[in-house]
């Protein structure tokens, strides 16, 4: 199982979920493509410039590897405290 979270404006579009990691998915980018496959609005929102991604609460690159048990957070640009 993996856990997917959305923060900021992305949370208006994506709904956080836990599900079994499909076998062919090994990176954040592959996960993003999978999540946006049947959802054009989410696909566009995730690809937006300035977004960040965290794997297990650590800021990561979009090509970072992911594995079963990970928590992946897609984050809109940080607006600051």
């Amino acid at each position: 199982m993996i856990k997917v979270l959305y923060f900021g404006q992305l949370s208006d579009i994506g709904v956080g979920a836990e599900f079994a990691l499909p076998q062919a998915i090994n990176t954040v980018a592959e996960l993003a493509a999978y999540l946006g496959k049947d959802n054009a609005a989410l696909r566009t929102a995730i690809a937006r410039k300035g977004n960040r991604v965290a794997v297990n609460t650590v800021m990561s690159a979009f090509d970072a590897p992911i594995k079963d048990g990970d928590e992946i957070a897609f984050m809109s640009p940080l607006s600051g405290g």
């Binding site: 979270l5 923060f7 900021g8 404006q9 949370s11 300035g50 965290a54 609460t57 957070a73 984050m75 809109s76 640009p77 940080l78 607006s79 600051g80 405290g81």
Partner: protein
């Protein structure tokens, strides 16, 4: 010492007194309180969200960096999340050191990092209109002061 993220209102004057009582052999205490501004909308509501766990850890990192860079004796960050109205305290930062310059600079450093690097997302509501707040270019310029001027990468 350390960071607290809370969804209930806090009193910055209480926070400052509590902080001062735990600063050890410091000669200087500096504090900053940020308030929610109405910005011309009397009914403004500000909703701040964070990534529980990650946000706290990021702020602990800024605190540890400031502690080492300015030889602080103590630092404190309190940050509100959830829904707030104009006039409510949103952030409290305090630093303590042997001499004043270090405490001033460290408080400024912590605020610049909170404003631009910490995982927070802001939404403003006024009437029926709700909008997400985008990052401000000025905050990135403020943040860059701590790297460019000081030769860090």
């Amino acid at each position: 010492m350390g960071v607290t993220i809370t969804d209930t209102p806090f009193d910055p004057e209480d926070a400052l007194r509590d902080f001062r009582l735990g600063v050890g052999d410091a000669g200087a205490v500096v504090s900053f309180t940020g308030l929610v501004r109405a910005g011309g909308h009397d009914d403004l509501r500000l909703t701040l969200s964070h990534y529980a766990g990650m946000t706290e850890r990021a702020i602990e990192g800024y605190g540890a960096a400031a502690m080492a860079r300015w030889s602080l004796t103590a630092w404190r960050v309190i940050h509100r999340v959830g829904q707030m109205r104009a006039g409510e305290p949103i952030v409290f930062v305090a630093t303590a050191s042997a001499h004043r310059r270090a405490a001033f600079e460290a408080a400024d450093y912590l605020m610049d990092h909170l404003k631009s690097e910490a995982p927070f997302w802001k939404q403003e509501q006024s009437g029926d209109v709700s909008r997400w707040i985008e990052p401000r270019g000025e905050d990135q310029i403020d943040l860059a002061r701590w790297t460019v001027e000081n030769g860090e990468t």
